[in-house]
Symmetry: C2
Subunit: 502 residues, 2 copies
């Protein structure tokens, strides 16, 4: 394959993209839900039509496998279809109507509220998901779905994939009659372009998936603006797993869960944001068995390439840092016969609960196939460990149902730290159903109130507006007396799809 060269976007190009997006906003946000829905579906079509070409570039550029490409493309397409369906249903408008009551004291006006788009959104491509969280991934698709123009800052690790996908998005925009500037795509390796985008007055929100350092820097920039804007940064997580003692008494359960967890830990070479990085057990002979099984299963897994040489280097540095904290990593072995580029050795650390409580650096994420087992003396120490945990995307509980019955205190602490709790499963594999919450308290994200996955992700790019005593004809169709679209509305505090009748 011929290498391609992409040029760093200039400040002039950044400004042009922002101003174009701002001008496109008026027309784009007033397109019908049907029209925007068609735009999203056409993108999905084009992704499938150009599947082979995208796959070739994706695999060459990222080092990820063909299977992974297929899975990620399928997910990206499904996300576009889901958002397209949601937009057509118009329930995302959160329509609410309270009719007037002149007899009330003070007189109650007619009030009708619905959500409208925020304005142009900047999306940063994620290093670890060239498709599903990048150019036309969850963030971009959610913003476009509700009428926010999008500017994508491509991730330099997969610039060519991003460039091809962007071309298809622009083609779909043209074919479905969307305004110029509805989607722009900028290349950059330096921080400058991202910084300029976030600071531009035409930009009204930001979506980011990446490191804590990167997310926090953008969050700080956005808040220092004269007009601060929301930044939805998903910044990683160490996804604690709590393994309960009764569960491990069963030999078959112990073996199965060790294998399941090891598969999750090696999945995507540990480069998923839901990678299980901390495994809490209660120290006894069953847990010692479990650790031995887990360690063996994990360390025997075949490794593939890391996403980029810089991620490989950071992983190796992270391991060295953890070792300096006094953690024994000699569980690590070199998987035999693996000669792929950017290869690393997976590693499993082992520490005591009291060490974990004392040293907050031990819960810093080492991005890649690294996890740490924390041996707790008892459930009280596990609770104490949980209390010092930072905010996380997920927590996983591996337990018998019966042994959780009197663990309210521990379950409350876990709930208080995370956005999703998995029972007897693994955190990797983030389903895109409406009930998925992919988010969590800081530092997992910068805004625990919103999800980056599922149809509710579009709520990040909306704000409400109320019309008071507005003539019916001038109201948006969603709020008129006649509910022509049969959308779900709260009318005088009762949810209904009926017309408003006086």
């Amino acid at each position: 394959m011929r290498p391609e060269i992409f040029c760093e976007s200039t400040t002039i190009e950044v400004n042009a993209a922002c101003e174009l997006a701002y001008h496109a906003f008026e027309e784009f946000s007033q397109k019908s839900d049907d029209d925007r829905s068609k735009f999203l579906l056409r993108i999905a079509d084009l992704l499938q039509i150009y599947r082979e070409k995208i796959g070739e570039i994706y695999c060459a550029e990222s080092g990820l496998t063909k299977d992974r490409f297929e899975g990620e493309l399928f997910r990206t397409v499904r996300q576009l279809i889901n958002f397209s369906n949601e937009v057509k249903s118009s329930s995302w408008r959160n329509a609410s109507i309270d009719t007037a009551n002149v007899n009330q004291q003070p007189a109650k006006p007619d009030l009708r509220k619905m959500s409208v788009p925020l304005g142009p959104v900047v999306v940063f491509g994620a290093s670890n998901f060239p498709l599903a969280y990048s150019t036309i991934g969850g963030d971009a698709a959610a913003a476009l779905a509700v009428g926010c123009p999008v500017i994508v800052k491509a991730h330099a690790f997969h610039a060519a994939t991003s460039d091809l996908v962007a071309t298809l998005v622009v083609q779909a925009a043209q074919e479905t009659g969307m305004p110029d500037g509805v989607f722009s795509h900028l290349h950059a390796r330096s921080f400058r372009v991202g910084q300029e985008l976030v600071q531009h007055p035409c930009i009204k929100a930001v979506g980011f998936t990446g490191s804590h350092a990167g997310g926090r820097a953008l969050f700080d920039l956005a808040n220092a603006r004269k007009e601060p804007i929301p930044v939805f940064a998903e910044m990683g997580s160490v996804n604690p797993v709590f393994v309960f003692p009764e569960f491990l008494k069963d030999k078959s359960k112990k073996e199965k869960s060790a294998e399941m967890l090891a598969n999750s830990m090696i999945s995507g070479m540990g480069q998923f944001c839901t990678n299980p990085g901390l495994i809490f057990v209660i120290e006894n002979e069953n847990s010692a068995d479990f650790i031995a099984l887990l360690s063996k299963a994990f360390l025997n897994k075949e490794t593939t390439s890391m996403l980029h040489v810089s991620i490989k280097e950071r992983f190796d540095q992270g391991k060295v840092k953890i070792e300096r904290q006094g953690v024994d990593l000699n569980h690590s072995v070199l998987a035999a016969g693996n000669h792929s580029v950017n290869r690393v050795n997976q590693a499993l650390g082992l520490i005591k609960g009291c060490q974990f409580i004392q040293d907050s650096e031990l819960q810093e994420e080492v991005f890649g196939p690294f996890s740490m087992v924390i041996d707790c003396t008892d459930l009280d120490e596990m609770l104490a460990c949980c209390k010092v945990l930072k905010g996380q995307l997920t927590a996983t509980i591996i337990a018998l149902e019966s042994e959780l019955k009197d663990q309210e205190k521990l379950l409350f602490q876990i709930e208080n730290k995370v956005g999703r709790i998995i029972f007897n499963g693994v955190p990797t594999g983030v389903d895109i159903s409406p009930s998925m919450h992919h988010g969590g308290p800081y530092p997992a994200t910068t805004d625990s109130r919103f999800s980056a996955v599922g149809i509710d992700a579009i709520q990040r790019f909306l704000r409400p507006i109320t019309y008071q005593n507005c003539p019916d004809e001038l109201l948006p169709a969603e709020l008129q007396n006649r509910n022509a679209m049969r959308i779900h509305r709260r009318v005088n505090n009762v949810w209904t799809t009926d017309d408003v009748i006086f």
Copy 2:
């Protein structure tokens, strides 16, 4: 009445309140909706039982009238009742259920999502609403409703009212079995106490109503924390009014709307956040008549006291500053026979549209009975004025329905700048129905996505959490298969109050 002295809270007291609130959170957030509902109703009861005593202190301290007290108490009580009803309905949980599908590729897990409280909330008393937006006003009631303990920083202008109301809230908490620390009340005149509260690691959100300088300072402090937290600051607005030319051709409409607007402008001595501060007209003889009528009506209104001598001084300084910008204020007259304390003269400025576009300082709020008429040459200049407007809580349109039909561009610009649009009415008088949105783009608020008024105000203090493959018995009642409370849930993307049946 005997003057009372309140002491500045110490750092030790601030820390104690925050830690108590944090400890109370576990128990309080797990109280049943019914229990929290009873707590709110008991507060409402006590406010009515002690009505006379509160009224006496309120009027003496604030200089506000008895009528205003009655209205504000009624509103405060109604807010508590509304939140109490909403909490009992449990619809605020935003419950969403997607059942498992093992045949799907990849297999779909069982996912159940609902909203949970953020944690302890700090509320700052507002200078202009000693009851409805202070001690147990909208912010505090909304936070308590969903299980967030509250710490109130009393506003020094009405410390005695706040102190009495706080005593009643604590009494209600004790009578209804709420945990110690569920509500704390701190006095302060300095900024120190507020700053310490916002920076305390136990605090998870902040509600504030006041000046832009104050709100922005708290927002910046909260974002600079190691763990940033949301600040819902409502920071004022100049609430533009757009008067259309055809409407003013009708003599009776012209007279009535001038009188209505003048009443709104003097209401609360212009100290409401929805005070109409900018009035855009199209320059012609009808609008000249309208301005004359408006000016006469407004300037003849009897004035009452401003809330505090410092607000009076800031108002007078604001007028001087506006005059220095070259604005003619000699419309101002001294209302005869008024000798109340902290009295000011209302004032009406008059400028041209081109001046407004060039000088952004002319849209700074002068808190008090001050408004400015902007004479635009035509609707295009009105549109140009609208484009330079900052974010606002409200906009008001005074027009014939027929003359708005081809004004999409102007209406879009207005919508893009505000949280509520009033048709042929006035912005003051904020109803508390569910469909009210009291918020707006920055600098009206720090977060345009949430309302400070109406039952949706509780959404500010919530975040979602998802349970994946959780055994039914361990799920919160709101998410179990049996919908025992008959709450409104999204089940496999359909809204229903039915049980989940397999």
